[in-house]
Amino acid sequence: MKKVLLMGQSNVGKSVLFNRLAGARVTESNYPGTTVDFAKGRVRLNGEDVEIIDVPGTFSLEPKDRAEEVAVRMLEEEKEALVVCIIDSSKIERGLYLALEIIEKGCPMVVALNMWDVAKNSNVKIDAKKLEQILGVPVVPTVATRGEGLKELVLRMKKAAPGEIEKIMEQVGGKSGTHG
């Protein structure tokens, strides 16, 4: 069965989005050998049964604690999985850091610009179309707590594609492989 990993930093609304998508069919699991909990659910998305996994929040793919280690390992083990990278739109910069790291791993991905309402209220303006063009993966504004944008997010999962770091760097005029 196809797997969908919900990844993002902490407090960006991963679990809210998860609960919205998975509804009641949720099982709470423990990653073997650790005490980090995560939830799994089965849903039908775009006419296909998939397993969605609420991955523990991680700031980056360089793990600093157990929960982050689990997150990174899950991403590495599920090579075929589709990743939904959830970003807090009001704190987009640090969210994009993780998004780019996931793109570097070469996973097919969609980006959910969550908390779109919060960003709007604090005068953060984001050109989602332009971002989509730069990243080369679908970018969808969402408000998970109210269910806004989720339909589109699911529809756009069909278009999920691995982004290409080289192309992204070309567009933003930077050099690849330099950190910080």
């Binding site: 640090r94 850091y97 910080g180």
Partner: protein, 75 residues
């Protein structure tokens, strides 16, 4: 004036000038990188963490980390 992030005073603002190589990737995911504007929010006593505001986000940093970040302080 340059000082360590850990030496900044309450409500002091500045721009990050240098981050020790060893923790660059460690803090990048938290939105901390060179050139970023920071404001000191709180300092916890007894060698506790410092809380700084970056991009309207309050981020808490251990004193060990804050010691290795150099900030150009305003004024």
């Amino acid at each position: 004036m340059e000082k360590k992030l850990s030496q900044m005073k309450y409500e002091e603002k500045g721009r990050i000038k240098e981050i020790d190589q060893s923790l660059r990737t460690k803090v990048a995911g938290m939105g901390i990188r060179e050139g970023k504007q920071v404001e000191m929010m709180t300092k916890q006593p007894i060698k506790g963490p410092v809380v700084v505001s970056i991009d309207r986000t309050n981020t808490s940093l251990g004193l060990g980390l804050a010691d290795k970040i150099i900030v150009e302080v305003e004024g």
